[in-house]
Amino acid sequence: MNFWIYFWSAFFFISLALFIILAVVVLVGGFFNIKSLFRSLSGQKSDADKADKAENPP
């Protein structure tokens, strides 16, 4: 049983440390990803609007 106690203890704390690192990386990286997503969606929307205007002039 001692093997499993040591194994799960080490597993838990290593995972916790990894998760903290992941959280920081994803937090920072995700913020820039969101900015880029909105930039790309805005670009697509304005392209679609232009195409609509070209097809259906006022």
Partner: protein
């Protein structure tokens, strides 16, 4: 169960209510604001396929770290002790392997599909898509039908609300918020909010974990589990605990939850390209690990806390027989309500509600998209316009929400919640795993084999205890699940050999199979 009559009072205060309500309102405002970025059905369902690695990892973790997972995982930790950690380990290993190899998910992304039934059509034809879509939506909607119930148990225990009417009003309001922002913003709002919720949840869970260790003490946790549960509390192969069949079943579920379950696969389909898909799964393996590990640990801490409290011990850990699952489900939220200080408990509750809403919106969007794209649209000869599809998705979101509310909150369920959820999921994934694996990697897989595998999946319902009682059998659910998936693979193989398709080859993205 009224805990205040047993002398148990929550630390939840007016400040915590302000935090929770403020958070929900902020989420709603964000969903409305994001609406202006939506112009096509692809924007709505897969965010214009513009998701990059870190945002994808955050949203995948947030979607799958749902309140119902936290609740049942904590219950598993409470009942199984440290041995339950093997489920988290299995999930992480399998997700990482899927990330390295791109198993299933990369071919799906290459095909540019939005849903798994769309793959069925490209590989096996339109009718398989309609059948597969119907089974998937049926299984998924039933599966999510119990989310709201789990959320209700959590809120009751943490806030100390004991009136059933108050609970129903709160949960109805929460569901309304989810429906509004999902209907308005689709995948884009969902992804941004998942990111916000990932942040709140991560901070909340980490703080709760660290506080639990500080208050209970690591050595005390180990010693209490050791003295009360013995070897079964640590060794997952111990027959008095989980046993080897359960461990194998968990590895299979690890594969299903990261590569076959539609709500995760839709993230792969929304990724920018196939290399992003691989990176996304490798990073998410840590998220998949923690979505189980932290709640298990909180469940273990709840066990230790309750074991050292005479009144609670007599309720939660009776000397005679196995504790009632409906009672052990309440252990983790009760523990949090006792151990977290005012203010922090509000943040953790907001995080948990975030988890509920995050998953609920993903599932709503996912099943609505499946019903629109895979069941309704293929029935029309003329392709439906983007506008009509968007409208249909939104109508389904509202209809499913009404069903879920009635089913989960107002309908008195007469069976064990966990069995209900596991079996409702297995109805879909046992057949779907065979279709995906053989459909992608075996060029001779045929339409007949696909039908046989999908129909076989239905027999997973035999894992439900109430069905077993009616038909007079008693088999562990992991044995039923493993048997059904084996039979599904076997029948698909035999059916494909006996009745091969006449029209081949089928193209899979840029490759030919």
């Amino acid at each position: 169960m009224n805990l205040s009559s047993a002398g148990i009072h929550t630390n939840f205060t007016a400040l915590d209510w302000c935090i929770v309500v403020g958070y929900v309102l902020a989420v709603l405002a964000l969903g409305v604001y994001i609406r202006k970025y939506i112009s096509t059905v692809a924007d709505f369902i897969v965010a214009g396929r513009g998701i990059k690695t870190f945002l994808g990892a955050a949203t995948m973790t947030a979607t799958e770290l749902c309140l119902v997972t936290v609740m049942y995982s904590a219950q598993k930790g409470f009942v199984g002790g440290f041995a339950a950690f093997h489920i988290a380990l299995a999930a992480a290993i399998v997700t990482f392997i899927v990330g390295i190899t791109g198993f299933i998910v990369v071919p799906l992304r290459r095909m540019n599909v939005m849903t798994i039934p769309e793959f069925y059509e490209k590989r096996f034809g339109r009718n398989v898509r309609i059948l597969g879509g119907t089974i998937l939506a049926f299984s998924g909607i039933l599966n999510m039908g119990m989310f709201i119930k789990a959320a209700a148990v959590f809120i009751t225990c943490v806030t100390g609300l004991s009136s059933p009417l108050e609970m129903k009003i709160i949960m109805t309001a929460l569901l309304a918020v989810v429906v509004i922002y999902t209907t308005l913003g689709g995948m884009v709002s969902e992804i941004v909010l998942d990111y916000v919720q990932f942040v709140v949840l991560t901070i909340g869970l980490l703080l709760a974990t660290l506080l639990s260790i500080r208050n209970l003490g690591w050595n005390n946790i180990i010693e209490t589990v050791s003295s009360l549960k013995g070897r079964a509390g640590f060794d997952p192969f111990d027959t008095e605990g989980f046993g080897i069949a359960y461990v194998v079943w968990m590895f299979l579920l690890g594969l299903v939850s990261c590569a076959v379950w539609q709500t995760v696969v839709i993230r792969a389909c929304a990724a920018k390209d196939t290399s992003t898909v691989k990176r996304l799964f490798m990073w998410s393996s840590i998220g998949f690990l923690m979505r189980f590990l932290l709640p298990y640990f909180l469940g273990i801490c709840a066990f230790v806390f309750i074991a050292q409290h005479e009144t609670l011990k007599s309720i939660f850990i009776p000397d005679t027989g196995r504790p009632d699952p409906q009672v052990t489900l309440m252990a983790m939220p009760l523990f949090l309500s006792q151990i977290l200080p005012a203010g922090l408990i509000g943040i953790v509750t907001a995080g948990m509600l975030a988890a509920f809403m995050s998953t609920h919106d993903s599932y709503l969007l996912c099943w609505s998209a499946v019903l629109t794209q895979d069941v309704i649209a293929p029935c029309f000869k003329k392709p439906l316009s983007s506008k009509t599809r968007l409208l249909l998705v939104r109508i389904f979101i509202v209809c499913i929400s009404i069903f879920v509310l009635i089913w989960g909150l107002w309908y008195p369920l007469g069976e064990d919640l966990w069995d209900y959820m596991a079996i409702s999921g297995a109805i879909y994934f046992t057949g779907a795993t065979a279709l995906l694996v053989l459909g992608i990697y075996w060029k001779r897989a045929s339409r007949t084999g696909a039908y046989l595998a999908l129909i076989t999946g239905f027999s997973a319902i035999l894992g439900l205890k109430s069905v077993q009682l009616r038909v007079g059998i008693n088999i562990a659910s992991e044995i039923v699940g493993l048997s059904v998936i084996t039979i599904a693979f076997l029948l698909m193989f035999l059916g494909s050999r006996a009745f091969p398709d006449k029209n081949r080859p089928v193209t899979l993205g840029s490759e030919q199979i």
